[in-house]
């Protein structure tokens, strides 16, 4: 997607007032079709969808309602649980299944499956888990014989199963739901302020609120699946130690920020799982920088919100403080992290700590050859040096930025203002004349305009890296 379109709009996830709110699960409507059939279709998508590609299976999943997705997650997690504890598949073993508590403090509560549903869940777990010959599954063999759905799923699962702890379902399932969002396939939701809705999405353009919509549940389902990732060789969920989960969060956070789909819940959960990851610390810091920026702060200040909606965007000062904290953390974790150093320098500059800002900007500039980062560093250093009264250094820095992006207007404005302040009006006018003569053709010609998006510029490559190991070979399809 072209950056121009991305840079003019953003969407923020706002949090509905959670106090006393009932969990989403309690609102589950009766399914419009048998839930086990939906689970089978989902498993088919998990095993047959090629991550990063468009196909009918993700189109199908994209049509499911929130209630259906909630139910699907419960059923999928039950299957995963049985695979990890095959003894649960024994015909006479009953087991409690709990709806997990949500982040609003609701406690878990039991799920009541029918006998038929429990039987089918066991059959599916034995089949896709490769456990048909395991003792607990033996008694199910007769009932499973001749079942074409199970037969098909068995073959599909066998071709992609790389582990015995169901991580292949967790990872692939999360990638299915990710692709539903990445391809824009999620069914539109009508705005719902009923108790229990956890968030609404506010779209903005040029500092104005343009729409309030209901976000779909696919990111939430993907996160919950990734939360089930087990450590290698174990059956216990430990997502914070899973390399796929980590890469998935970095890639999806980058995508969200590049495309202006800001989501506190997603990036905060990523940081909870990976508190010592420098990439996530930088992305989280940049996320708060974006929240502190004029387009978002302006939109928030002028927003008209229904009662009960609490903004998940704090004041400019608070967001800037969070950005500084996280960017500092990123630089502590990885001192030669050029982008984190330069962004930290920018945050320090806008909060009036120019001397320290200059140190970080120079540190960042010293460890990168990336033209974009060089531009940001030089541009910010130009402003910082001017504030410090180092006019010569300021001019040199702005000129360096102008040389890196000759079509950018910001360095020329900076140079003009610097000259005007020094009383050199003719020189100030010449810089403006140069600015007016620029033939700007793309948003990318002026990286300042996309500063709050460019931290996600590598999103496509990052997503590809996550998806690639899960892509099906010809023989697996």
């Amino acid at each position: 997607m072209a950056l121009k379109a991305l840079a003019v709009a953003a969407a923020l996830l706002l949090v509905a007032a959670p106090a006393g709110a009932a969990p989403i699960q309690q609102r589950a409507a009766p399914p419009t079709e048998p839930r086990m059939e939906r689970l089978e279709r989902w498993l088919d998508a998990v095993f047959q969808h090629n991550p990063g590609s468009y196909d009918d299976r993700i189109v199908d999943v994209g049509k499911w309602s929130d209630a259906e997705l909630e139910m699907l997650f419960l059923d999928a997690s039950t299957v995963i649980r049985i695979i990890r504890n095959p003894g649960l598949a024994s015909p006479n073993v009953g087991f409690p299944m709990l709806v997990p508590g949500d982040r609003t403090g609701q406690t878990s509560r039991p799920v009541r499956y029918t006998v038929t549903e429990i039987s089918r869940l066991k059959q599916l777990a034995c089949t896709v888990g490769g456990l048909v010959d395991a003792a607990p599954c033996e008694p199910l063999k007769t009932a499973m014989a001749g079942d074409t759905v199970l037969s098909s799923l068995s073959a599909q699962a066998a071709s992609v199963r790389r582990d015995t702890n169901a991580n292949f379902i967790v990872h692939r399932g999360a990638l299915v739901h990710s692709d539903v969002v990445l391809f824009g396939l999620a069914a539109p939701r009508s705005l719902d302020f009923a108790p229990g809705r956890q968030s609404v999405r506010m779209s903005i353009a040029d500092g104005h609120q343009t729409a309030l919509t209901q976000p779909d549940l696919h990111w939430e389902i993907a996160r919950r699946l990734m939360d089930l990732a087990a450590a290698p060789g174990t059956m216990r969920a430990a997502p914070g130690g899973d390399a796929v989960v980590r890469s998935w969060y970095i890639a999806t956070c980058a995508w969200m920020q590049r495309d202006g789909h800001h989501d506190n819940i997603h990036i905060d959960h990523a940081r909870e799982l990976f508190p010592d990851d420098p990439d996530l610390a930088m992305l989280n810091g940049a996320h708060h920088e974006a929240y502190a920026s004029p387009p978002i702060q302006t939109a928030i200040r002028s927003a008209v919100l229904p009662t009960g909606i609490r903004l998940s965007v704090e004041s400019e000062r608070a967001e800037t403080r969070d950005a500084e904290r996280l960017l500092r953390r990123a630089t502590e974790l990885k001192p030669d992290f050029a982008e984190a150093q330069i962004r930290l320098g920018h945050v320090l500059a806008v909060t009036g700590r120019e001397a320290e800002a200059a140190q970080h900007l120079e540190r960042g500039l010293g460890v990168t050859n990336d033209t974009l980062l060089q531009y940001y560093g030089a541009l910010f250093l130009g402003a910082v040096e001017e504030k410090l009264g180092h006019n010569g250094a300021s001019k040199a820095s702005y000129e360096r930025a102008a040389a890196l992006y000759p079509r950018a207007q910001s360095p020329l404005l900076g140079l003009s203002e610097l000259a005007r302040r020094a009383g050199h009006r003719d020189e100030a006018l010449r810089y403006l004349e140069q600015m007016y003569s620029i033939r700007m053709e793309r948003m990318e010609d002026e990286p300042w305009w996309t500063y709050t998006y460019t931290q996600g510029r590598n999103a496509d490559a990052l997503l590809d890296a996550v998806q690639k190991p899960f892509r099906l070979t010809t023989g697996e399809r």
Partner: protein, 287 residues
Amino acid sequence: MSMRMAVIGASLLTATAATGVQDPVFSSKVEAVRVDVLVTDRDKGGVVRGLQPRDFELLDNGVAQQVDLVSFEQIPLNVVLAFDMSESVSGDRLDQLRDASAKLLDGLTRDDQAGLVTFTQRVVLGSGLTKDLDAVRRHMTPLDDAGDTAVIDATYAAMMLGESDVGRGLVIVFSDGVDTASWLTPELVLNTAKRSDVVVYAVSVQSRLKPEFLRDLTSATGGRLYEIEKIANLSSVFLNVLEEFRHRYLISYTPTGVENGGWHKLDVSIKGRKVAVKARPGYLGAS
């Protein structure tokens, strides 16, 4: 993706810059200080005419100054229009903006000049200062790059254009939003304004957000901020601005008894008259 570019202005600006850029008013090379002053009758509200240098009392940092010269309706104007041309200014809004601008331009004399700066996040010179007012009208077209608003950057560019030729600089800013994209900060542009004798008027469409930068800038330059409910009122506002500006006195004095650099607080009053006086609150002197 293409962005329609305005291939404009560079030569025009070169021409104006080459033909008569006056010395910086507040540089160390120029001793005289110019101040635009609006004097109105406190009771009747009308402009007070016929004042002479001896009628003005001017304090520069509290030190009384000798006013050397007073001009009224004599010096040609450099009127620079700085218009927000983002997506929201299209259709009827654009038509009304054009109509209001046309009436404003019709009100200029043949010695006056006009210029045009348009902006979204991009700042474009629509027309350099020129007496060819049709050229200004012709370039009043929306920029086709959807996006944010760089009103601070654009205002800086407009002020620079306004002071790029001899004459009294008047900048009229129209924006229906607040800044979301500028590189320059409000502080830097206010600083420029305090070193310039250009007067800035601004028209902002009312919203829940207060146009703080425009309020500060108009105050710092002795201009005025109009917050209008409907853009349909724009013509009368623009004509009011022109009328008011034309009826301002331009006084000049050579500072004595004060340091050159730093902030100079100005107090302007009229001796023995019940009048209201509006002028810039001060200026930044060259150090």
